[in-house]
């Protein structure tokens, strides 16, 4: 809890829920007749309505990207390191929009919402959503906000996949695309990790085929395991060694299965606290959205052809110790953009933080990010 709000914070923020009545046809063939999107915004939309930035969240993210909901909050929003006055996404220059995606569990329509068809919680009946579905819902949000074109769409990891989809699906609706720590599609290894996470949720006796809320229970152990596995893939070997080593909590080995090593304590804590703030069905949906993402699929598996019609300028960023979406995966994106003759800048940031690095204010990363967003802003000033 901050005693006073830091000067580079967006401060106290209040989310807003917007309702959409136009049915959304999903890639799965199902239709959402109506839905809500919960949104936070920071900064002011200028008179030309040309300074809007869309932030796309990753697997466990939400609409609360920056600032605090109350002075009692222990932590600010998930990307507070990059969003605020004087930060790379400078809220004195930009109007920043962040939403919780469909299928989420933080206020947008998702598995924990009431199904209007039968008055019961959706649970497992909530339809599968894809990155493409999200981007189409985000485009409706854009129009609702009276914005014709984003100055930039920005996201890391699964958020970066939404950014690519935006550039492909709505080429004229964004001037800049910032794709951070992402991949053009999941590898077999990525899908394998997701599958183990899902199976651990399914295996929990509290799962009840996804209708656990109706049984007044939660698949706590299963979701906790899934999150523990996720955390292993977010950190690098080096980062884990530096953070925990083989340090023992009690200073000695106890020949038992209670927490002994610090890394066990960390994973259990991360897993347990996640269960309190996240829904297992949402986790399942998000991992499937990751698995399905493959924009080149519709273009004979040639990514450069998928990018052929894009008009945005790209900044692609990767981190050296990220093994979940390694620099080689960003190279695929950059190479496809180069082949398509698009304007692209690529930065490969030295970092020990693994995949988590995209949320860490690493000086080199922040410098490039700030320089790029500075240009987005100055271009906006010249054309406005």
């Amino acid at each position: 809890m901050p005693a006073v709000l830091p000067p580079d914070s967006v401060g106290l923020v209040i989310p807003e829920t917007l309702s959409f009545d136009e049915p959304l046809e999903l890639d799965s063939g199902k239709t959402l007749p109506r839905y809500d999107l919960i949104v936070e915004t920071y900064g002011e939309l200028n008179a030309a309505r040309s300074n809007a930035i869309l932030i796309c969240h990753a697997l466990s993210g939400d609409h609360h990207a920056a600032g605090y909901h109350s002075m009692d909050d222990r932590k600010p929003g998930w990307w507070d390191s990059a969003i605020g006055p004087g930060k790379p996404i400078d809220t004195t220059r930009f109007f920043v929009v962040c939403l919780n995606n469909l299928g989420g569990c933080k206020g947008s329509t998702g598995p924990t919402s009431i199904n209007p068809d039968n008055g019961r919680v959706f649970g497992a009946d909530f339809p599968m959503v894809t990155v493409n579905d999200w981007v189409r819902s985000q485009e409706r949000l854009m129009r609702r906000l009276g914005i014709a074109q984003w100055a930039a769409v920005v996201g890391g990891s699964l958020g970066g996949m939404q950014v690519m989809q935006w550039a492909i699906s709505f080429p004229k609706a964004l001037r800049h695309a910032l794709v951070i720590a992402a991949a053009p599609k999941l590898s077999a290894q990525n899908i394998a990790f997701n599958e183990v996470a899902r199976q651990s949720i399914f295996a929990d006796p509290g799962f009840h085929d996804g209708h656990y809320l109706e049984h007044n229970t939660l698949p706590r152990k299963g979701l906790m395991l899934a999150r523990m596995l996720g955390h292993i893939t977010y950190l690098s070997d080096d980062a884990m060694r530096a953070k925990f080593g083989r340090e023992l909590r009690a200073g000695k080995i106890n020949f038992g299965f209670d927490v002994e090593f610090q890394v066990e304590s960390y994973l259990r804590y991360q897993g347990a606290s996640f269960v309190d703030r996240f829904d297992a069905n949402t986790y399942l949906l998000m991992t499937k959205a990751l698995d399905y993402f493959d924009p080149a699929g519709a273009f004979e598996h040639q990514l450069s052809r998928a990018f052929a019609a894009t008009e945005a300028e790209f900044l692609v960023t990767s981190f050296t110790t990220d093994w979940r979406f390694s620099p080689a995966r960003s190279h695929e994106i950059v190479k496809a953009l180069l082949q398509a003759g698009k304007r692209v800048t690529y930065a490969e940031i030295e970092s020990e933080h693994g995949h988590d690095a995209f949320l860490v204010p690493i000086p080199d990363y922040m410098n490039v990010f700030r320089a790029y967003m500075g240009r987005v802003s100055s271009e906006d000033a010249t054309c406005a």
């Binding site: 180069l338 692209v344 800048t345 030295e350 410098n367 490039v368 320089a371």
Partner: protein
């Protein structure tokens, strides 16, 4: 504009696609964009210099040139591939030259000439590795691991089947003087070449 940059600019046709290897802060690319309306990219290994390119609005790829160009670029995707004062720091200069004329229609290369008389004098009379304004490093901390003379370079081009389309010589003031054309290997401090493949 620096004379070596001016020479390069003169060689470049308007509206062409240009790749600059080891582009630094993208000064040359910005000059070419302004004077020749070029498009294209820089390649740079230093993140600090990359941030400067970003500020100036030039697309730039952070990459290690020792890993070659084939991971990034298709054959003949640029009109010119430029590399100024970087060849001598490459692990495999001969391979990179081949890649340059593969990825680009033409290659433009500048390098410090070890045959320059001041270098020769320091070596012959002082018996020490030359240290000059153009080559300011000690032997132990220099990034310049593959220094050559004008004659060495032309012999390499011959052996590699690279055609020399043009060459210009400049001195330490980056001036081009008529005398240098007579004895380039002795009088030029920096050499500027325009090359093509077979």
């Amino acid at each position: 504009m620096r004379v070596d940059h001016a020479i390069i600019s003169d060689w470049i046709a308007p509206n062409s696609r240009v790749l600059d290897l080891g582009c630094g802060d993208c000064t040359l690319l910005r000059e070419l964009r302004n004077s020749r309306n070029t498009t294209g990219y820089g390649l740079e290994i230093s993140i600090d210099k990359l941030a400067k390119c970003v500020e100036g609005g030039t697309p730039v790829i952070q990459a290690n040139l020792d890993q070659g160009l084939s991971p990034w670029f298709e054959a003949q995707s640029f009109d010119y591939v430029i590399m100024t004062h970087t060849l001598q720091a490459m692990r495999h200069p001969e391979k990179l030259l081949q890649e340059m004329v593969h990825v680009g229609r033409e290659a433009i290369v500048t390098f410090p000439n070890m045959g320059y008389w001041k270098n020769r004098l320091q070596f012959a009379l002082g018996g020490r590795m030359p240290v000059t304004k153009t080559l300011p490093y000690g032997w132990f901390d220099t990034p310049n691991i593959h220094l050559c003379t004008v004659r060495d370079f032309e012999a390499l081009c011959e052996a590699q089947g690279l055609r020399i389309l043009d060459r210009e010589m400049v001195d330490s003031q980056l001036q081009s003087r008529p005398l240098m054309r007579l004895a380039p290997n002795l009088l030029a401090e920096t050499a500027v070449y325009r090359l093509a493949g077979k």
